[in-house]
């Protein structure tokens, strides 16, 4: 799956990879974050 040009729904997690970190990563791959969330289950 090529990310370039794609719109991305980002479901991050506090205990895993946080949403904002994923957003930076997908932007560097040429994708556009559409929704950025970080779930926290504490």
């Amino acid at each position: 799956m090529e990310l370039k040009g794609k719109k991305v729904i980002i479901l991050g997690e506090r205990d895993g990879i946080q949403g904002q970190a994923i957003a930076e990563c997908v932007k560097s791959a040429g994708a556009e974050p559409l929704l950025v969330q970080t779930q926290c289950f504490v």
Partner: protein, 94 residues
């Protein structure tokens, strides 16, 4: 969001810390909420879903950004097990 943007150009990227939760996220955005507890119960969005740590996604990220944001968790997460769970969901027929 799917109704507004369509499915064709949409991808879900998750950052779950373990295989079980990754599989649950994936199941929910492809075949619908398996617990039947949330608004996606019975709603099969069939969106492509990947974990940020899967090799085919990691290969597309700028190495400097990858190092800054993912290098620590790259050591901590069981990426192989997470990928196995996601592959299982991706291969399932609705």
């Amino acid at each position: 969001m799917v109704e507004q943007n369509g499915k064709d150009n949409l991808v879900v990227i998750i950052g779950a810390p373990d295989a079980d939760s990754a599989e649950l996220y994936a199941e929910t955005v492809t075949h619908g909420d398996p617990t039947w507890a949330g608004p996606l119960a019975g709603v099969a969005l069939e969106l492509p879903v990947f974990h940020i740590m899967e090799p085919e996604i990691m290969a597309q990220i700028d190495p400097a950004i990858r190092k800054e944001h993912l290098s620590i968790m790259e050591i901590a997460l069981d990426v192989e097990k997470i990928a196995q769970g996601l592959n299982r969901v991706r291969k399932q027929k609705p």
